[in-house]
Amino acid sequence: MSAHIDGSGDRRPTAGILALSMPYQVVAAVALAAAAVLACLHLAMVFLHVAPSNTVTKQHGQAVDDWIYPEFEQNWKLFAPNPLQQNVSVQVRAEVLSDRDGSRRTTGWIDLTAQDVEDIRGNVFPSHTQQNQLRRAIDWYGNAHDEEGRPKGMRGRLSEAYMRRIVLLRIEGAGARADVGGKVERIQLRRTARPVASPHWSTEKRSTESSSRQMPWWDITDADRSRTETSR
């Protein structure tokens, strides 16, 4: 290739910028510069997005966010800085209007996470509905609520509606995994965190005491099942 790279060789290249005449070469050169600038700018933005908060992001964080969100959002803190060291599970109990005799009763705690875990055991390709749906929903719920359990803005309220619909899909109706046998009128969620015990070779003493947090009772409205109803 070097033989005809400088244009003074006997053979002219048939491709690339050197194969073009002046006006076309200008276009190609401008495009080359634009591509280089755009690629560098994009990489700089992605870098600032994944980097820890720093001098630049403190001053220009909004510009970075505008560039990145929503399509280039990414999070590669995979099991970092520390891996999750507790098993988080979600239980629900419901106030149900019985289908058979119209009586009203409150169910015991139903472990929704246990359903997921049962499905994942021995599964070479767990579905996102088993591995991610509830796990990420409760995680998001936690992030979208403050310490006192109040929703933070619209996303907080969306996460509540999402949780209600996930729960209903799993406990109400004939197709549900744990059918409560009636119309669910109210539900209460409980999030339980059970720390993983320290390794047996470690001298560290870690409490493996579970801690639970109950959420308030939520009324179930038609909005929580409107569309699921029609699809059944």
């Binding site: 002219r12 690339g16 276009v27 099991f79 098993n87 875990v117």
Partner: protein, 426 residues
């Protein structure tokens, strides 16, 4: 062609640096680099996404359907806020949902085969973005990589080898002049259909998607049309210019893709260094005891029971992830780490029950595989296919698949590094 070519862009090539610059400019404008690497990335990601879509087929309504837990209405409220792009916001009809899911599957198959790669890669991106953005709270790292790479792939000429496009180009070249003159109708037909979709997309742009997505789609679509026109009516310099522009987009996007993979590992590694569990060498123990990531509890327990093993793997992971970007300058070390990372991901697929994530990461890693290995792999695959189909080796009939540009008879367009493949394939 017009007047004789002037001296290289920058200056007369007397100073070595200028010469280098000119040579670099010629390289990035004359060739779409890494034909085998980009092809394997295309194949890897389309296969990953295809596996995923087929596996989730029974769950598709619950995941992305209008009636799922993340209902159309909830998604609409979130997307009004974050402006993510998803054609599933066009309608809450179930039929439309099935069509989109079906198109996403079809695009994955066609991208795998390399059929009208550029157009299909755009459909692939639209499919992936549409499903993932419809239910953002369902994804994990694997979806995230597919999301990013599907965008970059639209700018990458990823069908130069191992594709139906490459086969078509080779056949046309074999037929010579008369073959090149033959007008094909599939491309223009596809273009018209996609144009209809594009108009619809633009109509719905107030509902979903940021402005740049539409600019990208329009530029790609108009570019394809222009390409066809130029090919028919102005095969001289305008055609060379278009090729230059396509090569530039390819090389820039490929650079971004490679840097993106480095950023993934750098982020994963450098943040781990700061964690106490990665420092005391017990980190791996904990995921092996998380209910959501232990499909085979006995196996996880077996691995986690050895303190030495857990520490070696924990330290090894951090070292490899942090070191990888720096080893790119040293070929041999890079290849060793690449193998280590791919093996680790294969292990993760089984042990943590994350096959889709692992496949996506392996496909991303593959962009760094050496050409010699990929060519060898391609030859083995071709031989296997021939044996399987009980037919004569391809070499007898058609020329082996090579970059389309080369098949087109470009003289001296190949670098030394790619001289070796010819003997291996041929």
């Amino acid at each position: 062609m017009t007047a004789p070519s002037p001296a290289p862009v920058a200056a007369p090539a007397r100073v070595p640096f200028d010469r280098k610059l000119a040579r670099a400019a010629q390289t990035v404008t004359s060739r779409a680099l890494g034909p085998y690497q980009t092809a394997i990335v295309r194949i890897g990601f389309s296969l990953t996404w295809l596996f995923f879509l087929v596996r989730e087929f029974p769950h598709r309504h619950e995941m992305y359907g209008p009636d799922g837990p993340w209902s159309f209405d909830l998604a609409r409220r979130l997307i009004a806020d974050n402006r993510a792009f998803t054609v599933l916001m066009w309608s809450d009809g179930r039929l439309w949902f099935e069509v989109v899911y079906g198109l996403a599957v079809a695009a994955a198959v066609l991208l795998l085969l390399g059929w009208h790669t550029r157009a299909v890669s755009v459909v692939f991106m639209v499919g992936a973005l549409s499903l993932q953005n419809r239910s953002v709270f369902l994804g994990d790292g694997g979806d995230n990589v597919v999301h990013l790479v599907s965008i970059y792939l639209t700018l990458i000429r990823c069908g130069q080898v191992w594709s139906l496009d490459a086969r078509r180009a080779a056949r046309r070249a074999a037929r010579g002049e008369e073959g090149a003159r033959k007008v094909e109708l599939t491309g223009p037909a596809l273009w018209v259909v996609l144009g209809g979709f594009l108009v619809a997309a633009t109509w719905f742009s107030p509902v979903t998607g940021e402005w740049w997505i539409y600019v990208l789609l329009w530029v790609l679509w108009l570019g394809q049309g222009l390409w066809w026109l130029v090919e028919q009516y102005a095969p001289g310099e305008p055609r060379v210019l278009l090729d230059v522009l396509a090569n530039l987009a390819h090389n820039a996007a490929l650079t971004v893709l490679m840097a993106e993979v480095c950023l993934i590992y750098a982020t994963a590694g450098w943040y781990k260094i700061q964690g106490s569990r990665w420092q005391d060498g017990t980190a791996l123990f904990y995921p092996l005891h998380l209910d959501y990531f232990t499909p085979w509890p006995a196996l996880s327990e077996l691995l986690a029971s050895s303190g030495i093993m857990v520490m070696l793997l924990s330290y090894g992971t951090v070292i490899v992830q942090v070191a990888f970007p720096f080893t790119l300058f040293k070929r041999k070390v890079k290849n060793v780490l690449l193998v280590a990372m791919m093996l680790e991901h294969a292990g993760i697929a089984l042990l943590l029950g994350l096959p889709a994530f692992s496949m996506a990461m392996i496909a991303a890693d593959a962009v760094f595989l050496p050409t010699v290995f990929l060519v060898w792999l391609g030859a083995r695959a071709a031989r296997g296919r021939d044996l399987l189909l009980r037919r004569e080796p391809a070499a007898a009939g058609l020329p082996p698949q090579r970059p389309a540009r080369e098949a087109g008879g470009e003289p001296g367009g190949e670098a030394d590094g790619e001289a070796a493949p010819r003997t291996l394939v041929g």
